[in-house]
Symmetry: C2
Subunit: 205 residues, 2 copies
Amino acid sequence: MIANEKHSQLKAYYQSLMPDLTEEGWAICESKLTVRKFKKGAMIVKEGEICKHVSFVNFGLVRMYHLVDGKEKIVMFCNENNYTADYRSFLMQEPALTYLQAIEDTEIVDTSFAGLQEIYQRVPEANFLGRRIAEELFIDMCRRTTSDANETIDERYNNLIDQQPWLLQRVPQYMIASYLGITPQALSRIKRRIKTTSYQLAAVY
Amino acid sequence: MIANEKHSQLKAYYQSLMPDLTEEGWAICESKLTVRKFKKGAMIVKEGEICKHVSFVNFGLVRMYHLVDGKEKIVMFCNENNYTADYRSFLMQEPALTYLQAIEDTEIVDTSFAGLQEIYQRVPEANFLGRRIAEELFIDMCRRTTSDANETIDERYNNLIDQQPWLLQRVPQYMIASYLGITPQALSRIKRRIKTTSYQLAAVY
DNA sequence: CGATTTTTTGAATCATATCAACGTACGTGG
DNA sequence: CCACGTACGTTGATATGATTCAAAAAATCG
């Protein structure tokens, strides 16, 4: 079925977190899903709106950012096979403090707040899933905070090169800079510094 | 009963999050609880150890901090009627990246990792609780991140005065500075700046 | 190819860190 | 009760690193 096709990635994701999800359980979940597409640059959530869905990214790339004094500060990027949302806004059903924007052509699978509550009620395993998603998000945030606290900017940029090299391919540098919490100029200077440093290291051998 | 006495605050907390928790359910939870006391200055969790419990604070005050280049960076304070833990370490059963220290004489109620898994299995509502706790932690972390991203240090100090005035009473200034991510000297200067600014404002009236 | 966007570079400026010294408060032992 | 030591807070001088503003160079796209 075509409907199945659209949700196959999400089904795999569910099954990886809930190994004993039944077909009936999945059918209930699937009945609550809707698919949306966004062109590159389109806004998915705007500050002040309530974030009405949690959205699983089938393909594409989404950035989450704050707008402060007219300047963007990127909080995170979400690529395919991850959930994206202003999860705080979604959970509390309060206005979002952030923007979510597709920065590539993007397809997402939405679950509404009411739909998720129904899933929690009718599919007992799903509370486990909800717990695991919140825990994962929390752990990610810890990682980020720890890295901000413990690492120099040079180290954080190097880690990004190691751990998310695809970001450098898919995202302009000024967004990387924003994500690292510095200006594009500062990042440019860091790159130069790292390049010359690694030449110096190479010369030692 | 004396045992009940020690857990009464936690029971109230559970009931606030799980209104339909049965007495049987609570009894199962309670059978997994243990109480520990720490003198002011005692370490609850050290970096490199696995955080074996989530701990509900009956009374006292706990700080969570990183040690980086021999310097402490405080991440959060936990006072009575809150959970404290290196929750990342606890969830993943991996070595902690942080320290937890009692900075007042403190009494906590522990739930072990194994104990919590058993609670999740035997008390269905508890998955909901676990989800809510993870969600709460996540939301708190969002708040913190948002505030770090959007506010000047002056604003963050002012917000702290408004929102957690008890911290100023119970915690030395150099810890507040560490929590705000600045040196004690910088905080001292901020205080002076704010004082003179508010005099100037007062003079307008 | 030309137009626009993105990145790089330079110089001036600002904020905070750092180093060092001094002031203050508190508590303990003589 | 006072004197001293320790811990905490304040203040000043200097250094460091990032930001800002401005402009040139490079890359991208229609």
